[in-house]
Structures are given as C-alpha cells and as structure tokens.
Symmetry: C2
Subunit: 342 residues, 2 copies
C-alpha cells in the first residue's frame, strides 16, 4: 500500500517537439521527433531512432495521473540525459538546453506544485553553463540542475569542474548526477540495452568515487550532490578505497578525509530494484542520504518505489527520510531543514 507522500528525484522529460535550429543548417546531433503510435514518438538524432518514448515524457496531466499508483507527492523532473548534448558546439548546446529548460518550466507551472525542475546547462562551456545556471535559478525557479557523470569524458570529480560547483553552492542549487556516455562499453557482451543496465551504474560509481578522491565535498561543504542508480557501483568500490587510503602513501596524502565519511555527505537515489541491496546502501551511505528515484517514465522505471522502501524494514524515522525528507533536503524545499547532512 502506497502513501502518496514520496518525493521522486529521478524522473525525466522529453519535449513533445523539438524546434528547428536557429542559425542555419541543422547541426549534427540536433534532435527531432518522428511520429510513432498514438501515445509514442521516436526521438531522432542524426537520422537514427535514439529511443521511442511515451507522451508521459511531455504531457503533464498524463504524468500526474500516475502519481497515485506510484505513491508520489512530488517529482523532480530533468532532461533525458542524452539531451544534455555536451558534445554539441557550445552555442548550439546552449540553444538546445535553453529550450529544454523552458519546456520543463512549463510543465512545472502546469503541475500545481507537484513538479519541480532540475534543468540542464551547457557544461562544454563553463561561462555559458554558469550563465544558464543563474537563469534557471532566478528566472525559472528551478531547484537544481542535472549533469552527466562525465562531461565529454571529464569525470564529475575533476577539478576542472570546480567553478561550476562553486556556482551551484553559491546559488544553492541541487546537483543531480546521472549516467551519460559511460565507460566500460567495450566490456559488454549482448544487446544495446546493456549500456543502460551495466555501463550506466559503472560510470556513476566511478564518478562518485572521483568526487571522494578529489575531496570535492571538502572544497564545497555546502554543495548538495546526488548520484543516480543508488550511486551505481560506488558501494562496492568504497571499502576498497577506504582501505587503500591507509595503505598507499600517495592516496593518504591526496585524500584528505575518510572516503566513507565523504560518501555519507552525498545523496543517492534508491533505484536499485532489490531490497537487500537497498538495506546495504542505507548501512553504507546512511538512511539520511537515500531518496526515491524512479527513472519515470522510461520502460526501465521502478513502478513501485514506495513499496520497495516500505518492504526494507526501516524504522519510522528512516522510512520518512527515505520516502520524502531526504529529497526535500536535497532539493532545498524545506527551509527549516539544514541542507547538509545532519
């Protein structure tokens, strides 16, 4: 039985249409929509069907109609990650993400307070990214931003991204890190879906680990940073990293605080499809750091996020934290809550 109380931090938006590129011939990588059946469309990129998606991606009423069954009170919506488009020329990418952000703002406005926005910024250009971050904060009222686990191969913990995180901290914007163009693709044996299934959590785990080894949360202690897919593989990397810091002098010198302590300052969605794994994550990262994440409305989304958390045997306080309080803290929605880890 569902509570209709949960806050979902991991749900995606695709606009129902894409505009023509303003500025000449359509650049490579600029998306368009092609009709499919009554409720679906094909997202076309460079003449190929990237993914066939449901109108729940763009029709607010269709999305809200599912909240009851899923037990949701609130959902943070972010672009389908491929649309972050870091590989486009900066001015082109900036035009596309501005359009995405305006679409998200429209859905938030239609939702009667049931949706909040996590926008996109063109991180292939730091100045443009920070300008768009200011825009989505001040003009669109978004709670935060979605970024890839790597930006054209530059992993989240890389100090080259420091100016962006400094701006996020200064603007009090939540940062949701989602897998994108992952490492490990040449280790997959099987159908294309394995990119999402195996390489996505791999890239997220390495991205989260890079935040620990580069001490990002020590440099930016007020930053609110969340990782998709339960932090991916991080939970299996963390004890080895913790041990390594006590063994390798070079790591002891460069990692200035316990990786485990740092990991317990990050947020993670609970999108792991397994109750014992969820309990292990709560033990590893703390029940104060996990949040509902569904990947709605894609095929591979969690249809029963609330029940899965209810089944895990948490006490009442932890249950409330996982279902909604942690997400409200991450999203900065409850000014009475301290933003950082209790």
């Amino acid at each position: 039985m569902s509570c209709r109380c949960a806050v979902d931090v991991h749900a995606h938006v695709i606009p129902g249409e894409f505009p023509r590129y303003l500025g000449g011939a359509t650049p490579a990588g600029w998306p368009s929509m092609a009709p499919a059946d009554a409720c679906h469309r094909h997202v076309m990129i460079d003449g190929k069907n990237y993914r066939t998606v449901s109108d729940k991606c763009w029709t607010t009423s269709r999305r809200l109609a599912d909240f009851e069954d899923m037990g949701l009170a609130l959902q943070a919506i972010s672009p389908m990650p491929e649309l972050l488009s870091y590989w486009l020329a900066p001015a082109v990418g900036a035009q596309l993400v501005r359009y995405l952000n305006e679409q998200i703002a429209g859905m938030v406005a239609e939702s009667g307070g049931q949706l909040v926005g996590l926008g996109a910024v063109p991180l292939q250009d730091m100045d443009l990214a920070i300008r768009e971050l200011q825009y989505i904060k001040h003009s669109l009222g978004f709670a935060g931003v979605e970024i890839g686990s790597n930006i054209n191969g530059v992993v989240v913990g890389d100090p080259r991204l420091d100016p962006f995180f400094e701006a996020c901290e200064a603007l009090d914007m939540a940062v949701f890190v989602h897998a994108l163009r992952p490492a490990g693709m040449d280790r997959l044996v099987g159908p294309a879906a394995l990119q999402q299934v195996l390489a996505y959590p791999t890239d997220v785990g390495l991205a989260a680990a890079s935040v620990l080894t580069s001490n990002l949360m020590t440099r930016r202690p007020q930053l609110r940073l969340a990782f998709s897919h339960g932090g991916g593989t991080l939970a299996m990397l963390l004890p080895r990293l913790e041990q390594a810091v006590s063994v390798f002098p070079a790591l002891r010198d460069s990692v200035t605080r316990s990786p485990t302590a740092q990991a317990r300052e990050l947020f993670y969605d609970a999108l792991v499809f397994d109750t014992p794994t969820l309990r292990h994550l709560a033990h590893t990262f703390g029940a104060t750091q996990l949040m509902v994440g569904t990947d709605y409305p894609f095929n591979f989304h969690d249809h029963r996020p609330v029940e899965r958390i209810q089944d895990a045997g948490f006490d009442a306080l932890a249950l409330d934290q996982l279902l909604q309080a942690n997400a409200r803290r991450f999203l900065g929605l409850d000014p009475s809550l301290p933003r950082t880890t209790p």
Copy 2:
C-alpha cells in the same frame, strides 16, 4: 584468533629473476629485475619500475613463514597479473609464461603440500594457450589457471574465448579471473594506485557480468570460474541486470537463465576489506561461493583474512565453507566434493 585452516585462492608470485629472452634482441615488454634494498627488487618493464616487490614473492620459505599469522593451511599461487603479458607476440608471451609456470611449479614442490599452482597461458593465441593449459595440467600438476578480466580488451564472457573454457572444463582446471589493464582508467582523479583500487574491481565486475549475459555457465556447466576482489562491482550490477532481463525483450531473448541464478554458480574471493560488504556478498552470491583471497604478498593485501570472515557472524557450516571448503571445491582438491554448486 586464527584457525590455521584457511585456503587462500588469491596470492601472487613473481620470480626472483627473469631469464634473457631466447631468440635475439629483447622484445618490448619483456621484464627484468633490478636490485632494491635487502629484501626487495624492482620489476622493470620497458626501462620503467613497474613495481617494487618483496622477496616473499619468490622465496617459498619466507611465504610459508607467514601462514601461521594469516591462519592459512594452503595457498593457491598465481603470477602477478601484469606478467600474463597478453600484449606480447604469441611466441614471446608463450616463452615468458612457460618460465613463470616452471617457477611456480618449483615453489609448489618446495612447499610440502602447502602451495598449489594456478598457472598462466598465452591467451593471445588460442592454440598456444590450450597447449600450455595441457602442459600445466599434465606435466606440472597445477590445479588451474589465472586469466585476466580481459584479454587485450576481449572480456571474459566473449564467445571468442569459448574454446579455452571448453578446454578448462574438459581438463578439470579451475579458472581464477583477475583484474588486468582495466576499463575506466579515464574516470580516475588521483594517484596511479587508483588503477588497482577503483578500476580493478570495475573491470572484474564487468567481466563477471559478461559471463552472465553470454550464458557461459549454461554452455559450460562443469566449469569452475572464480573472480577476484569479491567479484568487483558485480554485486551492485546484478539486481539491475536481473530487473532488466524482465524489461528489455532483447535481453530476455539473449540471457537464457536468471543472472542471479547464474551468479550463484560462480566463485568469488572475499577480498573486500569490510565485514558488512562480505555479509552482503554472502547473501547475494551464496555462502557456498565465497573463498579466502588475500592478494599476498603485495602491500595492499589482507593481513587478517580469517578474522574478517570470523567476525561476520556466519554459522559454523558457512564459516567452514568460506574458510576452506569452497576453495577446495573450486580448486578440485577434494574428490569427495561435487565440483559444481550444491
């Protein structure tokens, strides 16, 4: 308190000297030793110090002297993975691994039954690899073979390696899969040691997952296949893979049995440096599939493998399985035990 009963499946050998290459000028990648302090030498590859290592790598008496403290009755010894040398020309690699195998055989002979051999084969050439496998089985009496998590980028589950696994099954040789030249290197932020710390378990997890998605254990049900470092990141990938098989038609068609059921037919060492993680692995993979693994004698080895397992709260049966029975089954040392999973 230690039991002096444990069987360690993950321990490495480096010869005290490397021979000159027989056949002309020394090829690129051929290793040599350079003196360090009294008890150490530098493994030199292409003029660089690959690693400074202790004489415990090659001196049998020094190794056996540590068994009491570590609680070991038996240790399976395999080459330092970089020495597998799959990137050398086949005839060159075959010459090097033959030398490694003879050195391992010498240490086993000196050990009074306390060491067993896991040899190397030149998998860059399938015919030479199978010939060497026959040699180490029939002439050297090894229990099995160590292979990389990928062979020059070809991951363990790739069907191109099927003839090798068919031979391992036919010859009743255990296969120990160890991380090597891993994926994910471009996601690391920090000192070089992060290759071992983060990329190694990443590559092992992807390698184990490739075995599941390619149904290797369905094709070769008698194969005994073990993964280093607790299976790396596999435990975090597995629930998502299990869910995906029920969601993506292409995966449902290609993965013919439950990935979780398949994962519980593989063996894993318990080298995860953390008791709750060890308990989670036992839950995920089964207490029948985990074995002591120490990474002895490298700096980053587990000095108290027995205590860590004793601390995890397993019942007496599971404790015995983890400490020694599973490893004896994996290594094929106890003919009264069925080789495959109970």
